[in-house]
Symmetry: C2
Subunit: 292 residues, 2 copies
């Protein structure tokens, strides 16, 4: 399922299915050749491929003006709905798996250049750069709902090259509450609830209290939600903590609405003994790659 | 240049160029198979092809998270800039030739179903549905600038099936002024300047005064303009009247910034004798296809 167009070969009969061969065979080259000589080489490569694939898509399905305009309208409405706190354009991409795919591509490039680090997953639209730095052992849950299970999450951050624990590594964590909402979506949660940064100790260890995550739907009141409904798909993501770690007992692990689950990121919450503040425990060590 | 992906064939060595074969070969099928059984068959076909081509594009160029986010940001800003009077999402599509391509596809489908009608071209972002109905022989130019050449445009509308003139056919015309601006972009032009609807006479004839069109740049203060600059491309469109008709003497006929020129739409303005209101004349007959 990862065949790519080879435009240097002559058209074969099966390539002309759906009328793709009926259209002006020079049009796409005409558009691509308009790119001027002063263009950045990487941008030229990206745009050449994008134009080729978008045109091939339109020809393959005989896309009509009305269908294209419906797509333009969807994209414009996504932009109009986007704010500092909500990125609907990103969510549209997530629904067709694009964020998860570019995450895989970017991670592979980083892994090839370095060593095998802890696998990445998509950032998603609810990350905030301004999460507060909290102290070792603190809780990130300030408005803990009654149906939440409190868990203590801890582990050690290792340098993937030296294999030694990392002192002072910063970990950024965010998770939705049991109602499926992140704090910036929910007026009933205090600012930066279920969100925070931690620095590892000298021995590389980190630890904090959080809640066991629950599955939640992505926001479905915009174009991305409309698309999911029209595609007869549910909007749910499996339970996860953004670091990012998936709960092995969660529903939706095999049909995440944004396709971000990876086997190596699925974890088990265990019962925690002797801690009145949390009934569950999650141990998760992290292999940190070197920065550029 | 219109090869399409054939995903049923096994990957050949050249298909794995650029690392496309290094990524999870099941991911795209996983995303496509999430489309539910209640999905409209046409939407399923369109989205399956779109997902396949967008994923192939990302793999082909090893698209990174940062590059993808720059694209999301561009799309969101295009939506935020769009209003009833400006459609920046549409303009972004125009710049990569997509509107012109879906126009070709839609026109071919209509032509196959009926007969050879006058060729269509893209609607563009400056069409308004509420143009006023004007009387035969009226002018659409109310704030005629000093550098404008007034022209009388006229012709006959024929039914492509019966070959007979069409009585009462509605013609919608709009054009930019010599400063390159449509009236809705220009506070110095009166409402509906250089825009109007006409109905043909019993003999199918129509006629009105307009100005000879001049080349103009598409709006370049948004994401579409940024993209044109980054691609080292000029923003100019050849001189045209939206009906749509191109002036054979215009610059940019062979490198329209939105790729909408078709040979059959290029026309010649001739000197007009004995009319103090216009120095030029354009005769243009129209073959009208039957409505559905």
């Amino acid at each position: 399922m990862s065949g790519i167009s080879n435009t240097n070969k002559p058209l074969e009969p099966e390539d002309t299915l759906n009328g793709a061969g009926r259209y002006d065979p020079n049009f796409t080259n005409h558009v691509i050749s308009s790119i001027g000589p002063a263009t950045d080489p990487r941008l030229r490569k990206v745009m050449t491929s994008l134009i080729k694939h978008v045109h091939d898509f339109a020809r393959e399905v005989d896309l009509t003006v009305d269908e294209w305009m419906a797509g333009v309208d969807m994209i414009n409405r996504a932009g109009q709905m986007s704010t500092d706190r909500r990125n609907e354009g990103q969510l549209l991409c997530d629904v067709i798996g694009l964020e998860s795919l570019v995450d895989e591509i970017t991670f592979k490039a980083a892994a090839d250049a370095k060593d095998a680090v802890t696998q990445s997953a998509i950032l998603g639209p609810f990350f905030r750069h301004d999460a507060p730095l909290r102290s070792m052992g603190d809780s990130i849950s300030f408005d803990t709902p009654k149906d939440a299970e409190v868990a203590y999450m801890h582990g050690v951050v290792y340098d993937v090259v030296t294999k030694k624990p990392v002192d002072g590594a910063e970990i950024d964590i965010w998770q939705a509450s049991t109602n499926g909402l992140y704090e910036q979506q929910d007026p009933d949660q205090q600012e930066h609830n279920l969100r925070g940064k931690f620095r590892t100790e000298k021995d590389g260890s980190y630890g904090f209290y959080c809640i066991r995550p629950t599955p939640y739907p992505v926001p479905d009141d915009g174009p991305a939600g409309e698309l999911l409904k029209k595609l007869d798909r549910h909007p749910f993501r499996p339970a996860h903590i953004h670091l990012i770690i998936f709960d092995a007992e969660s529903k939706y692990l095999d049909n995440d609405s944004v396709f971000a689950v990876k086997d190596s990121l699925v974890v088990k919450f265990e019962p925690r003994q002797g801690d009145e503040k949390a009934a569950l425990e999650l141990k998760y060590d992290i292999l940190l790659g070197p920065t550029e």
